[in-house]
Amino acid sequence: MPKWTMVQAINQALALELEQDRRVRIFGEDVGRNGGVFRVTDGLQERFGEDRVFDTPLAEAGIIGVAVGMALYGLRPVAEIQFAGFAHLAFHQVAAQAARLRYRSGGEHHVPLVIRAPFGGGVRTPELHSDSVEAFYAHAEGIKVVIPSGPYEAKGLLHAAIQDPDPVFFLEHMKLYRSLREEVPEERYTIPLMEARVVQPGNDLTAIAYGALLHTTLAAARQVEKEDGVSIEVIDLRTVHPLDEETVVASVNRTGRALVVHEDSRAASIAAEVIAVINERALYALLKPVRRVTCPDTPFPLPAVEDVIVPHQERIVRALRETLEP
């Protein structure tokens, strides 16, 4: 099997979708001729033509708005927002339109739309480029929010997202684009949405993460396992909304301790939701408070200090140890 970066895996998934389903069209800013500012759509316009893969005017509400129209009509649009923070300009088209057309029409219409967007710190981008946006869309209700943690996951989840009859916000952490390679089957395969993955089993604590920080969390967990002789279960949420509560609850009920890690700020975040669910469904098992290791309640930290503020291994290790204290 080839060893691919996440950029390659996503590119390949998009190519397969374009190949097998004429309803799929890919568009956004710079996705055509330029192949995307991260080269995620590289070569697709050349191979499939301008009808299938095309550049749009610079207007995020426009991109999502026309994508909603195409999806209503019966196509399977895959719209790219160049950086997730710029989807703010289309917030109404996502939250009030894409996410609720099935609902308001009592199931008569649906919006099979995938919005892809990069995000994430560690790449020293100008402001708003790095922002995590998952909590906004989780709270919008009616759209699934998916965040892959690597190449293999990205491909399988993206196929599932494009095949899903409802809108999916597919968020790609920039730091993962080229930083790791994985064996990825060339053929189409899907990873079901709304199912978390137990990345490594363990008995003493449940560490819950997603996206790039899954790897930092794993590294921290292994360090603590090795140094302190404990065993830590690590869960990759994959779909951050709707949550796979079962996997989380079953694990915490067994381990009695939990930690949630993400890059997003903390107020009314995915971590808050996970903790609320643990409280509701696993409280009696809890031996210690569930810690949140997240960015603080500030705008995304300035590039010059993001390494200090964005959760790093040492901070996760510290939180793990505190949570593991008797």
């Binding site: 708005g65 129209g69 008569e108 209700e141 409802d166």
Partner: protein
């Protein structure tokens, strides 16, 4: 392509019912259908207001005075799409929507009946958003190689929204088979058109994006039909989008929650009263002998009876089950949503 600012106000029948332009080619049948929906539409609107007053209907936006909107939909085929707002019910009826559907919508039920087969999407509430959807539909039609068109309708207030302009621009750049129709009824709730825009005509926006603009007497259903028809033909032929501004007036309140005397003068209302779209069309139809007085009476009786049946069916319509709230968020409700359902409604 550079289009000039439009200057002509398209008109076929003047307020007194005189023919002042070439009428569109319509069979007597088609004329009567148009006229029927205008008559029915007015009755329906008045009945909706009455139902609201009786507490049997939610907030409703009457369209009395704007019945010439029938001409927006009359040039369309069933496989064309029409995306409008709460103010476009008559156009939706002409397009095939059952009057029961917007009754359900306004009662706070699901908006069912606005189907893909009819080329309809539930009435838009968020001002301006639907214009982009209509462009997306048009781009899909173009992509599939059909000769279908998509019409997006909005009010004068909506022309201040960013989405309106992004829609015009996308449509122009992609030469989509899209027709933007602005029902300029002179007000966005209390805000007069002069406060929405510093130009005299909203149709000016078209040429700025490379789209021809048309100004139409929006109380003249034949002018509306004729101009929209022309735009539809251009779009079907692959000649791109158009923008049509209909100059009209809502005779009543913005909605049942509004008091228009706070912001409009009696003279202004009287001015427009004299330009009634139904009266004008009726004179034309009688003069052209497309309709006799007796037929007119019969048609009114028919509309009354149809409306009565409609209201009865509406009253018999079952309210949504609370469970349905949980069923239409996603195709398959996720487990946690079902758990929430059981918690709120009691375990089934």
């Amino acid at each position: 392509m550079a289009y000039p600012f439009p200057t002509e106000i398209h008109r076929v029948v003047d307020p007194e019912g005189n023919l002042v332009g070439d009428p569109p080619e319509l069979s007597p049948e088609q004329h009567r259908k148009l006229y029927y929906w205008m008559v029915f539409g007015r009755m329906w609107s008045e009945r909706m207001v009455a139902l609201q007053r009786q507490g049997r209907m939610g907030t409703f936006a009457p369209h009395v005075g704007q019945e010439a909107q029938a001409g927006i939909a009359s040039p369309l085929r069933q496989d064309d799409w029409l995306l409008g707002t709460y103010r476009e019910c008559i156009a939706y009826f002409v397009k095939g929507l059952s009057p029961l559907a917007p009754m359900a919508t306004h009662r706070g039920y699901f908006s069912r009946g606005y189907t893909r087969e009819l080329g309809l999407v539930p009435l838009q509430i968020v001002i301006g958003n639907q214009m982009l959807h209509a462009v997306g539909v048009a781009m899909a039609m173009q992509y599939e190689g059909t000769d279908r068109v998509a019409v997006g309708v909005c009010g004068d207030g909506a022309t201040s929204q960013g989405d309106f302009h992004e829609a015009l621009n996308f449509a122009a750049v992609f030469q989509a088979p899209f027709i933007a129709v602005v029902q300029n009824n002179q007000y966005a709730i209390s805000v007069p058109r002069q406060r929405q825009a510093a130009v005299e005509y909203l149709a000016y926006r078209g040429p700025a994006f490379g789209i021809p603009g048309y100004i139409v007497d929006g109380n003249d259903v034949l002018a509306v039909h004729k101009v929209v028809q022309e735009c539809v033909e251009r779009a079907r032929a692959g000649e791109g989008p158009s923008l049509v501004e209909l100059l009209t007036y809502r005779m009543g309140a913005h909605t049942t929650a509004d008091d228009p005397t706070k912001y409009r003068s009696d003279e202004e209302v009287a001015h427009w009263q004299a330009r009634d779209p139904i009266k004008r069309y009726r004179i034309f139809l009688l003069r052209q002998e497309i309709l006799s007085n007796e037929e007119d009476e019969a048609l009114h009786e028919q509309a009354t009876a149809d409306l009565q049946r409609c209201v009865e069916e509406f009253e018999a319509m079952p309210p949504p089950r609370p469970e349905e709230i949980f069923e239409h968020v996603f195709e398959t409700p996720p487990p946690n949503l079902l758990r929430q359902r059981d918690e709120i409604l009691g375990t089934p």
